[in-house]
Amino acid sequence: MNAMIEIADAKKTFTMHLQGGIELPVVSGVTFDVNPGECVVLSGPSGAGKSSILKMIFGNYRCDSGRIGIRHRGAVIDLATAEPRQVLNVRRSTIGYVSQFLRAVPRVATIDVVAEPLIVNGVSRADAQARAGELLHRLNIPERLWQLPPATFSGGEQQRVNIARGFISDLPILLLDEPTASLDAANRAVVVALVAEKKRQGVAMVAIVHDDEIRHLIADRIVDVTSFAAAA
């Protein structure tokens, strides 16, 4: 296969033991591929399971059945059955995840929060910080904030730090969960440009975007999640 992501018949149910063991079907029969350089946008109303699918692709939610095939260093790994160590390897060198909220590390400076994914993959601190600085500039985070930990930043600033951290890497797969949710028009345009650059570099992306205009600008293909609605 040439696809970077190949999901086949994946199913997810939550069993709520504290609520008398009720079964909460989330999605079933999830099947789609994502090719290099392509941005697939998941659509569907709130609660349809878009975020759950993203989390299944990241190995954060476990699947009940089915397959999450990820092309990792030339071979295909099924994240639905992978060992924890393999999942960590895949996350370090193949899949990046830009969540809606920054999970702030208490005392680390913004520039280092952004540079970290590169340093982990062996880029020198100086080079990583230089690239982090460029991205922070583009996302309009003023230089005087770079040495501060992002914990005290506004919601929009934190999200931009998070986006910088997500886009700095050279990972071949990116998952984007509402990357433009709390951004103004200027910064939304920056994110659209960043997505376009990643496409040109051959990165495969899966995104959740509620803003119709942004969706129109970045989506190569739309996958309607309501078709995976789990039969209760």
């Binding site: 939550f14 069993t15 709520m16 033991h17 504290l18 989390k55 190995g59 954060n60 939610y61 476990r62 924890p84 160590r85 999942v87 960590l88 390897n89 370090r92 060198s93 590390v105 208490p106 005392r107 680390v108 970290e116 340093i119 982990v120 993959n121 062996g122």
Partner: protein, 265 residues
């Protein structure tokens, strides 16, 4: 920051095989098996009486299992069963390649001797004898754990709880161990002091590519520090997996209860 070469190193550092421990008729720990790899941080979570401390004692060779065994890959690359090690060998392992961070720093430190001596002692135990070098290394480690070097000649009994815990960490890490056991390392500390300590631990563990087995009842500690988590209840491991998987998508009733008991931040 996990070292790539080490994570892909396919030889486990420590292997627990079907470990059980009974005290009379009480089974404190039943049939626990896992493998720990270099640079990997494993959290063992569960409430008091779940058997997690008994397990930690067996893993660190301080308690003999009723059944099963623990093997460890020594610095020379040879994997040995802990029960076959002589007392002297085990002590040597503890002074060099292993660390043990106790919840109560008084258990891991000598409270009446200076901070510098507390750190230097471990170096002397592995044959260092140059006073100047020992003192320099001790000062360097105090700085790394954010203790003012001006306090090097003071005994830890004059230190605050947070400083004592950081000193205990310095004492453990000075010999560059590959594996550190931690028993509720943030247990008795104020929340703000805890956060600072966790942050420090997180960066040291990554920088030194340490393998860690940490026992905690605090899921936030597990989330921040560990790659993998094992949930224990009634002496058994009831759920295990990648830390974010287990905490974000808990399957077992007890794990769901634990996760739902956390107050939102």
């Amino acid at each position: 920051m996990v070292d790539q070469a080490a994570l892909e190193n396919d030889e486990p550092l420590l292997v627990a095989a079907s470990l059980s421990k009974s005290f009379g008729r009480i089974a404190a720990c039943r049939d626990v098996s896992f493998a720990l790899y270099p640079g990997e941080v494993l959290a063992i979570v569960g409430e008091s009486g779940s058997g997690k401390s008994t397990l930690l004692q067996m893993l660190s060779g301080q308690l003999t299992p009723s059944a099963g065994h623990v093997s460890y890959r020594m610095r020379d690359g040879i994997t040995r069963d802990l029960t076959t090690l002589g007392e002297a060998e085990r002590r040597f392992l503890f002074r060099t390649d292993w660390g043990f961070v106790h919840q109560d720093p008084a258990q891991g430190l000598r409270m009446a001797v200076s901070a510098g001596a507390n750190v230097g002692e471990r170096l002397m135990a592995v044959g260092w004898n140059h006073y100047g070098r020992i003192r320099d290394t001790a000062s360097d480690w105090l700085t790394r754990v954010e203790i003012d070097v001006a306090r090097i000649d003071d005994a830890p009994r004059t230190y605050s709880g947070g400083m004592r815990q950081r000193l205990q960490i310095a004492r453990n890490l000075v010999t560059e161990p590959r594996l550190v056991f931690m028993d509720e390392p943030t247990g008795g500390l104020d929340v703000s002091v805890q956060a600072r300590l966790l942050d420090l631990l997180r960066s040291l563990v990554a920088e030194l590519n340490l393998a860690v087995i940490i026992v905690t009842h605090d899921l936030a500690v597990a989330r921040l520090l560990s790659h993998r988590v094992m949930v224990m209840k009634g002496g058994r491991v009831i759920e295990t997996g990648l830390t974010d998987q287990v905490l974000d998508d808990p399957r077992e009733p007890y794990t769901q209860l634990l996760v739902s008991s956390i107050l939102p931040p």
